[in-house]
Symmetry: C2
Subunit: 233 residues, 2 copies
C-alpha cells in the first residue's frame, strides 16, 4: 500500500507529506474476507481502523440476540476512533474495550489499523492533524444525530424512502428515474433501518404496488423520485 490511500482517508485529507509518512510508519494493513470479525465489543482496545476497500459493519447485539447495525463503513472512512480520542489527553489505559462489534461484509476488504499509543503521540504533536480530527468527529456527530432523527421521527416507510433518496443523491442520473444498487443484504439493510427483513420486504412491495420503485435482487429501479419524497417522507 502507498501513501495515496492514506491521503484518501477523509479524516486525514489535506495533511502535509511529513504527516503522511509518519502515519505510514505506524499503521498496519490487513486484507480480510467476508464474515471475518475485526473485533468484538468485549475485546481490549488496540487502536482504530480505516477501510481502504470493501465494506465493514459496526453493530450491537441486544440481550435477546437481535442485531442492530450502527454504521456501515465505506472506503476511506474510519471507525472505532472514539475510545482513543476520548482518552488521549489522559494517561492511556489498557482497560478499554471496543464500543461495538465489527464484521467484514465483502471479500478482499482492506483495512488499516492505527495503533492507539503511537497515534496519540502523533496527534499531540501535530496541530493540523488535530484540527482534522475535530472536523472529522464533528461530521460523525452530525451523521449520528441525523440517524437518531430518522429512527425516532419517521415510520419504517419513511426510513426506507429516506434511505433510497440518499442513495439517489450519490449516483444521480436523469432526474425522475434511476437505479441504485444495494451495497448490503436486505437483512442488513433492515437492521440498519431499525426493523426486520419481513417488514422491509413488505415495505418494498407496497412501494412497488404504488408504482414508485421496482426491486430486482439488489437493484432498485426508482421510477418516481418525486413521489417517493412527497408520498412517504
Amino acid at each position: 500500500m502507498d501513501c495515496t490511500e492514506l491521503k484518501n482517508i477523509y479524516l486525514f485529507s489535506g495533511l502535509n507529506d511529513n504527516d503522511y509518512s509518519k502515519l505510514m510508519e505506524i499503521c498496519k494493513c490487513k486484507t480480510l474476507s467476508k464474515g471475518d470479525i475485526i473485533f468484538f465489543d468485549t475485546e481490549p482496545y488496540a487502536g482504530f481502523y480505516a477501510v481502504i476497500k470493501g465494506l465493514v459493519k459496526i453493530y450491537k447485539v441486544s440481550k435477546d440476540g437481535r442485531e442492530h447495525i450502527l454504521h456501515l463503513v465505506y472506503p476511506y472512512n474510519t471507525f472505532a476512533e472514539v475510545p482513543l480520542l476520548e482518552n488521549a489527553g489522559k494517561i492511556f489505559s489498557k482497560d478499554f474495550s471496543y464500543p461495538a462489534n465489527a464484521k467484514v461484509l465483502e471479500d478482499d476488504t482492506e483495512i488499516l489499523l492505527m495503533p492507539a499509543r503511537q497515534f496519540v503521540k502523533l496527534m499531540q504533536n501535530d496541530s493540523s492533524l488535530c484540527l482534522k480530527l475535530v472536523a472529522g468527529l464533528s461530521q460523525r456527530l452530525r451523521h449520528l444525530n441525523k440517524h437518531i432523527e430518522d429512527i425516532t421521527l419517521k415510520d419504517i416507510t419513511g426510513r426506507v424512502a429516506n434511505y433510497i433518496l440518499n442513495e439517489c443523491k450519490h449516483n444521480k442520473q436523469s432526474d425522475n428515474s434511476l437505479t441504485i444498487a444495494l451495497p448490503i443484504s436486505k437483512n442488513d439493510l433492515a437492521s440498519y433501518l431499525g426493523t426486520i427483513p419481513e417488514t422491509l420486504s413488505r415495505t418494498f412491495k407496497k412501494m412497488h404496488d404504488d408504482g414508485v420503485i421496482s426491486v430486482n435482487g439488489k437493484t432498485i429501479l426508482v421510477k418516481n423520485v418525486n413521489k417517493l419524497r412527497v408520498a412517504y417522507l
Copy 2:
C-alpha cells in the same frame, strides 16, 4: 461572571489561564427564562453555547408536529458545536443553520455564547484547546451511540428502567432503595425516551404495581434497584 465558570465547562477543563482569559474575551453571557427559545433549526449559525446554570433541551419536530428531544443539556455542558467544528478548517460561511431547536426548561438559566469566527481563530492557534475538543467530541459521540443503542435495542419499559438506573448512579445512597428527582416534566421525559406521555405513565404504573418503584410527582422512590435491572432491562 468569572473565569471559574469557564473552567467548570467540561469541554474547557484543564486549560491554562492564558486560554481562559482569551475565551473570556470572546464569550457572551445571557440569562434566560423557562420557555425561551435559544435558536430554531432554521436560524443562521452564530456560534455554540455552554450552559452554566439551569437546563436546556435540544429537540427536533417531525413533519406532523411530534417533538423528539435529542439532548438535555445540563450545566457545564456545551451544545451546537458541531456546525462550527466541522467547518473550522475550511473558510467559514454564513449559510449554516443550527442543526436542531434549543429551548430553555428552567427559569434563570444562564448560558454562554461562543461566537463562531472568533472561536475558530482561537482554536487554530491553540493545540491544547484543540486536543480538549477532540476528547469532548468523542465523549459526545459515545453518548449518542449509547442513545441509539437504547432506543433501538430496548422496548419502552427497558428504556425507562435504563433511565432510572442511570439517574441512580448519580445520587447513590443506600444500595437497595433510593429516591431520584426528575429534572424535567414527564412529557419531556417521554419525548426523550422516544415515546409519549400516556405510555410513560402506564409504564410507571406497571413498575409500581410490580412493587419496584413508587412515583410521587417528580420524585421517584426506587424500592428495588436489583429487580429493576433484572426484570426489565
